[in-house]
């Protein structure tokens, strides 16, 4: 378990370009009979296994510091038991932290009274659940309008708003059905419509697509990205699926055994994994599909070279560039952003980026 001692500080922390909407500071969570004692032990450097064996306390989260940019999708990724679901429940205090601060718009949520907390949940943060958690005795329309009904809005306004968002997520004409009459994918669309109807600027998504078939999951990811283009919500998304994380994340946080192993822009994590655990993790990824031209290009100095075979957009995936080159490694391209040249990319550099850094310890997967 030597990995536990790897400092979390050496992460490439690309601070989100957007101002932080939600900030988690020095968050600890210990489950057990005596969390205060456990907290002391953890601060003294006792690791998760020893804490459980010697003190009977379970380490949930250790020293979590995350800034979630406004209008961005922050993905928290980790395997089961890594504490990701615990972490997301701290944001709206469904779980109380043992120590630490949770700032929303600069105000510490921990200082909120029960009423303020309810208000936060009603109009600041909405949530989408892995198992949908719709009310089985209410129609789809009533479920979608749940948040507004809790706030005590007018029934007409609720139904109009709920119907609008149901249409938006692609559920026309099912308003009068009950959740059990819908498929899993459709139920989760209702879950998303319910979160959107609350009109909260922050949306928490707890493994929202994990219970769905792969094809439906891809659909839902696309739906989310498409909605996000217009809505610019601050989304906190939990997943155990790295492909999903890389697809939708603006900011990726990788969690292991309750602490952050690395966080930053997904491309950066892929190109510069900070420890063998991450290297092992990203080794299985189809890098060509995830990496973008902007991550591997050379910044432009002076005039764009005249011998380039063409132009590619800075957000193009390497996969599409390979397809374009027809496999000719002698090609080179000018990378443009908004049709302005910003860099150059030659196929050799591109191919190099596709080779994952092999973990020094081939047993990393066993951690």
């Amino acid at each position: 378990m030597g990995m536990d001692n790897v400092a979390t500080e050496n992460t490439i922390n690309t601070a989100p370009s957007a101002p932080a909407k939600v900030v988690i500071r020095d968050l600890f969570k210990i489950f057990g009979s005596d969390p205060k004692m456990g907290l002391q032990q953890v601060r003294n450097g006792v690791n998760k296994t020893d804490l459980l064996d010697q003190h009977g306390q379970v380490l949930g989260l250790r020293d979590i510091n995350v800034e979630m940019g406004e209008g961005q999708i922050t993905v928290i990724m980790g395997l089961s038991g890594s504490g990701k679901s615990t972490l997301i429940r701290h944001l709206n205090r469904l779980i109380e932290p043992t120590a630490g601060e949770i700032l929303v718009d600069g105000v510490d949520v921990m200082s909120y009274s029960a009423t303020q907390l309810r208000e936060l949940r009603q109009s600041q943060m909405s949530m989408v659940f892995q198992k949908f958690a719709l009310l089985p005795h209410r129609t789809v329309l009533q479920n979608a309008g749940m948040a507004m009904r809790i706030r005590g809005d007018q029934e007409d306004a609720i139904n109009a708003e709920a119907a609008k968002w149901l249409d938006r997520v692609g559920l026309q004409g099912v308003g009068n059905q009950y959740p059990h009459q819908l498929s899993g994918g459709m139920q989760q669309r209702v879950g998303i419509a319910r979160a959107l109807t609350s009109n909260a600027p922050i949306m928490l998504m707890d493994e929202a697509f994990s219970a769905l078939d792969p094809l439906i999951r891809t659909d839902m990811q696309n739906l989310l990205l498409e909605l996000q283009k217009d809505l610019h919500k601050t989304i906190v998304f939990i997943t155990h699926d790295l492909d999903e994380a890389l697809k939708i994340a603006d900011h990726l946080v990788i969690l292991k055994d309750g602490h952050i192993v690395q966080q930053g822009e997904p491309q950066d994590i892929l190109l510069n994994p900070s420890d063998p655990y991450i290297e092992d993790f990203v080794g299985d990824i189809n890098r060509a599909r995830v990496l973008r031209a902007r991550s591997v290009m050379e910044p432009l100095v002076g005039e764009p070279p005249a011998d380039a075979q063409g132009q590619v957009d800075h957000d193009d995936t390497l996969e599409s560039i390979i397809a374009r080159s027809g496999g000719d490694i002698s090609h080179g391209y000018v990378v443009t952003k908004d049709n302005v040249p910003v860099g150059t990319l030659n196929m050799t550099a591109l191919l190099k980026a596709l080779v994952p850094r092999i973990s020094s310890d081939s047993g990393a997967r066993n951690y």
Binding site: R121, M125, M127, F129, L134, L135, P136, H137, M146
Partner: protein, 343 residues
């Protein structure tokens, strides 16, 4: 000499024993022993269990079992009057309700009451077959002149079930919300359920006059309230934790959660409890005929008392028919609720 003399002698309690020596009433065994002219030494094989009565023979200060039961009775009678001052006004509405319902049920013309019952049955169950069965049962009961008795029994069940639900559901909700309260309540519910039904009646007979209908009303409610309390508690505890979490995450108040989520989702269980409550009320109303509860039970009692076999058997059959009717109707409405919620 009695068997345990040595004990009181060795511990030095002889003085205390003799202090209250009096010529009280003698038991038959004492008299026999006296007649024989002194007890012979008892062998170790025949040493009696040191019960109150045995010890009393060695030491007069130890009370006999019959004194013990008498003192319990005295203690009960001692608090009875004070208890009555409190309990009488509280329970008086029960008498009014039972008497009122009885008068209403019996006073309504048979064709109107049966029509109302059939409409209620259909409304609750939405099941034509069940409704036809209920109609058939009531016409049969009326045909063999058991209609009035059956209706009396029904009126008592009606009042007692409503009150059981009225008190039982909130009690069950409170139990589901507090583990401490649940820990205290479960032994009481266990006791109410296991206590032989006759035993309920004994303290009640002393507390209230047998001519008052609340006497049997209380006995029936105490017996019948248990299932609805238990199943309400269970039903609310079984509500899907994910749905509760969603309700919390969207900022529901506990009241919104209770009425908007927990009770509706626990309804199938609560209704199963109501079904059981109805059946137990019927069982108790028959026994309560011992303390002047009117209805089919009085006929059963007459059959036993006067050895009128036919009366006993026919009224027994009428009770079974009524039980089946109540069970089918409440189960059919339960099935309807389940169907509406299936997921």
């Amino acid at each position: 000499m009695a068997a345990y003399d040595w004990f009181f002698d060795t511990v030095g309690l002889r003085e205390w024993c003799n202090a209250s020596k009096s010529e009280g009433t003698m038991s038959m065994a004492d008299l026999l022993a006296k007649a024989k002219g002194g007890a012979s030494e008892t062998s170790w094989w025949e040493v009696p269990f040191p019960s109150l009565d045995t010890l009393n023979k060695s030491c007069d200060s130890v009370m006999r079992t019959r004194d013990f039961t008498a003192s319990i009775e005295q203690a009960f009678l001692g608090v009875k009057d004070n208890l009555k001052v409190v309990l009488d006004p509280i329970t008086q509405p029960l008498s009014w309700m039972l008497d009122g319902a009885l008068a209403l049920f019996v006073g309504t013309p048979w064709w109107l009451l049966i029509a109302l019952i059939l409409m209620l049955t259909y409304y609750a169950s939405r099941n034509v077959l069940v409704t036809i069965f209920v109609a058939f049962s009531f016409f049969l009961l009326a045909f063999i002149d058991h209609y009035t008795y059956a209706v009396q029994t029904l009126s008592i069940i009606f009042v007692c079930t409503i009150l059981s639900v009225l008190f039982g559901v909130p009690l069950g909700i409170a139990m589901s919300k507090s583990n401490t309260f649940q820990r205290f309540t479960i032994p009481i519910l266990d006791m109410l359920q296991t206590l032989p039904s006759f035993v309920y009646l004994i303290p009640l007979i002393f507390l209230f006059s047998v001519t008052e209908s609340k006497l049997y009303g209380i006995a029936i409610i105490m017996y019948a309230i248990v299932p609805v309390v238990r199943l309400t508690d269970l039903g609310i505890r079984l509500v899907d934790k994910d749905v509760i979490e969603a309700a919390d995450a969207f900022g529901m108040t506990s009241r919104q959660k209770l009425f908007g989520v927990e009770i509706p989702l626990a309804l199938p269980n609560i209704m199963a409890g109501v079904n059981q409550t109805i059946m137990m009320a019927l069982a108790m109303v028959v026994i309560a005929s011992l303390v002047s509860a009117p209805g089919l039970g009085t006929l059963v009692l007459r059959g036993i008392r006067n050895l009128e076999l036919g009366v006993g058997l026919v009224s027994g059959f009428a009770i079974v028919l009524l039980a089946v009717v109540l069970d089918r109707v409440s189960k059919a409405s339960l099935a309807r609720i389940n169907a509406a919620q299936s997921h």
